[in-house]
Subunit: 401 residues, 2 copies
């Protein structure tokens, strides 16, 4: 079922859909026979909503595949995350809230150390402190390359996001990081015809960067990799007929939402409550709201089982404010699993709840991994959630007479 | 999700996967309201393992499709059994443990009876006793056809496997069996350009076979059908990064395992216990072990419900030896169903268990068809089991940042 098929069935409606994404929601028990983070959390509001909902487990990319946040979000947003791939350079730029445009070629940058013979002896410049990175990034921004605009944004430690803006750039480029020490950084080469211009401009930038950084040991050179442009994504307004808004604090999620055509709202603060306030303030202006909770994933990646439980309970505590808005459809899910016991993203299917007045409720009054495994949505690709949500919102006409 | 996608995510690990395949495992109740063979078997060790596992039902080929052993095994090995088809001639040769190579053209052979006018009057030569078949096969082996090597291996009764070895043979050939009596056997014709050489060599072999067998009534001629070469299969080492070993007693299973790049181990005996001993002896040498149990299927095909129950109980009794090796991932499944009540292979989904320390357990302390239908793996194509197993073995990196 492709977007063209769906698009022809889209019908106007005065209904509102809220997609509440707890990043890395899915978990694992700490010990044999135990409960997961979500099963451990005391969430009577969520459980009550579950009782009126259809439950299931979503698979972001494929069975056994651990999804990064980019593909995980594209999937729950309704896109095939293998067909629509966001390159690493583009994700890095989105992550620092850089507004990537269609003329932008992005890459991941590292400060690195060359020895006196110009050979690499530290690919990360001793994990340069972020403060120093910031100063050096400012220095790199003074570089001028004809025909192109240049952006250098510090990320963390030795890392920065690099963006070259000019018409006609192609991302089919080799990387400069040789992935080992004792050799020179590589030149950028065009992999496909048409990428020569980009290769030439990037090489000129690198050459000047080398001169500017020459005396700045240990950060006396840069490495660039993961060259990428933004994929051109079908837009929410076009394919789903939705005026969509994104409420997220961290750059990458704001970036991915912008990519699919959501309007990214300013959140006047950095707490969960601030995000719910933003939802309330803009309730009348949009048909669809994506609300992102970051800390579930942060705790998962840190191995903080109890912390993840607390974040879920905190989200649950704010749920009545969401429900008071009387949304027509509510989706509660995650973009992937991040079990605290694994301290990383994982391949495990993601607990998912879909509430509406016209859903066929499973009458399972519990929101948890094992409860969702018994749900009537079954185990399904995450990208299929959006059509179900649209149907529940009265936004899909009948197919055939 | 194709092999290329998976291949790029493969990560090295020091983990071991065991795939225990009970042939034709899935069953049916003997009477309304009854239990299946697997549900009837007393299997506390399996049930305990199930409690720590994810359960599901696998579909070897497609919904409603009854799988042969070839496609059933390819599917649980991770291949699409429709894309990768093993022809009948090739399966016959694999079945007698013949090591088919890339230059080999294989066919199923029958001894048959011609009347004095050269017309077929028994397509199976009165189901010739195997002993006589063996003698005649030896006779056929004396035939010389220039440029080609010839192999004739007796199978059972009137059947034999025929292999022609020469460079440049194409299997696009018509068959010689007219599928009715009262007519002459057919000549082999090339269906596609490029198969003329093969047609010519096979016809010369048949001509000489006719002369040699002329006085051997009732087996005075042969029929050949199911011409096939081995498909070229992506190899386990390349697509999954696994050093894989196969432990199986019967030729066909050894052949299919060899085809996908598994090393086929010698089993010093023909009992189930011998197979488990082989597993123990080679434990340190491989990352992946396929262990095949034949008798579940044999009992199923013979309509021997109680026998199938006993074989399952016997396998269950050996499970502690497998678990004592501390495998990281254990899959227990079948290649298809063979309900005793049907006395044949069937289309019913196959009970499947996947254990690892990092699986999300369903907490269903029972391994049976109905228990698996409630499991969190859901009802899934058998070919998806391998990526899940690789993920659980820590052998798949994250997709996207």
């Amino acid at each position: 079922m492709d977007f063209k098929f769906l698009q022809e069935l889209i019908a106007p409606a005065q209904t509102k859909i809220v997609m509440l994404i707890m990043d890395g929601l899915g978990g694992l028990p700490l010990e044999p026979g135990g409960k997961t983070e979500l099963e451990t959390a005391r969430t009577p509001h969520l459980d009550a909503l579950a009782a009126q909902s259809a439950l299931g487990l979503t698979i972001p990319v494929g069975l056994g595949i651990t999804a990064g946040s980019g593909p995980g979000h594209l999937a729950i947003f309704g896109y095939d995350p293998i067909e629509y791939e966001i390159g690493r350079g583009a994700l890095e730029a989105l992550g620092v809230d850089f507004e990537l445009g269609p003329d932008d070629l992005a890459a991941r940058g590292n400060f690195c150390t060359l020895d006196t013979n110009g050979l690499l002896n530290d690919r990360r410049a001793g994990r340069l402190p972020t403060e120093m990175s910031r100063e050096l990034a400012a220095l790199l921004r003074t570089i001028r390359v004809e025909e192109a605009e240049i952006f250098v944004e510090p990320v963390k430690e030795h890392r920065f996001a690099f963006v070259l803006r000019a018409p006609g750039l192609d991302a089919a480029l080799t990387e400069t990081d040789p992935l080992k020490v004792g050799v020179s950084p590589l030149k950028v080469n065009a992999i496909q015809p048409g990428a020569e211009k980009a290769a030439c401009l990037v090489n000129r930038f690198i050459e000047q960067a080398g001169k500017l950084l020459a005396g700045k040991h240990p950060a006396n050179m840069i490495l660039l990799r993961g060259f990428a442009k933004l994929p051109i994504m079908p837009q929410y307004a076009d394919i789903f007929g939705l005026r969509a808004a994104a409420i997220a604090i961290n750059g990458m999620y704001r970036g991915v939402a912008r990519l699919v055509g959501m309007q990214v709202l300013d959140v006047g603060g950095d707490t969960l409550a601030d995000e719910f306030t933003t939802l309330e303030e803009h309730w009348n202006d949009f048909d669809f709201f994506y609300l992102h909770v970051k800390k579930t994933d942060t705790c998962g990646e840190n191995g903080d089982f109890a912390g993840k439980v607390r974040v879920i309970e905190e989200v649950h505590g704010l749920l009545p404010r969401l429900l008071a808005l009387r949304p027509d459809v509510v989706i509660v899910s995650g973009d992937h699993s991040s079990p605290a016991v694994l301290k990383s993203h994982s391949w495990h299917p993601v607990p998912t709840l879909l509430y509406s007045k016209v859903v066929r409720p499973d009458r399972i009054a519990e929101f948890g991994e094992r409860a969702c495994a018994r749900g009537s949505l079954g185990i399904l690709p995450a990208k299929h959630i959006m059509p179900i949500a649209l149907a529940n919102a009265g936004r899909l006409a009948k197919y055939g007479a």
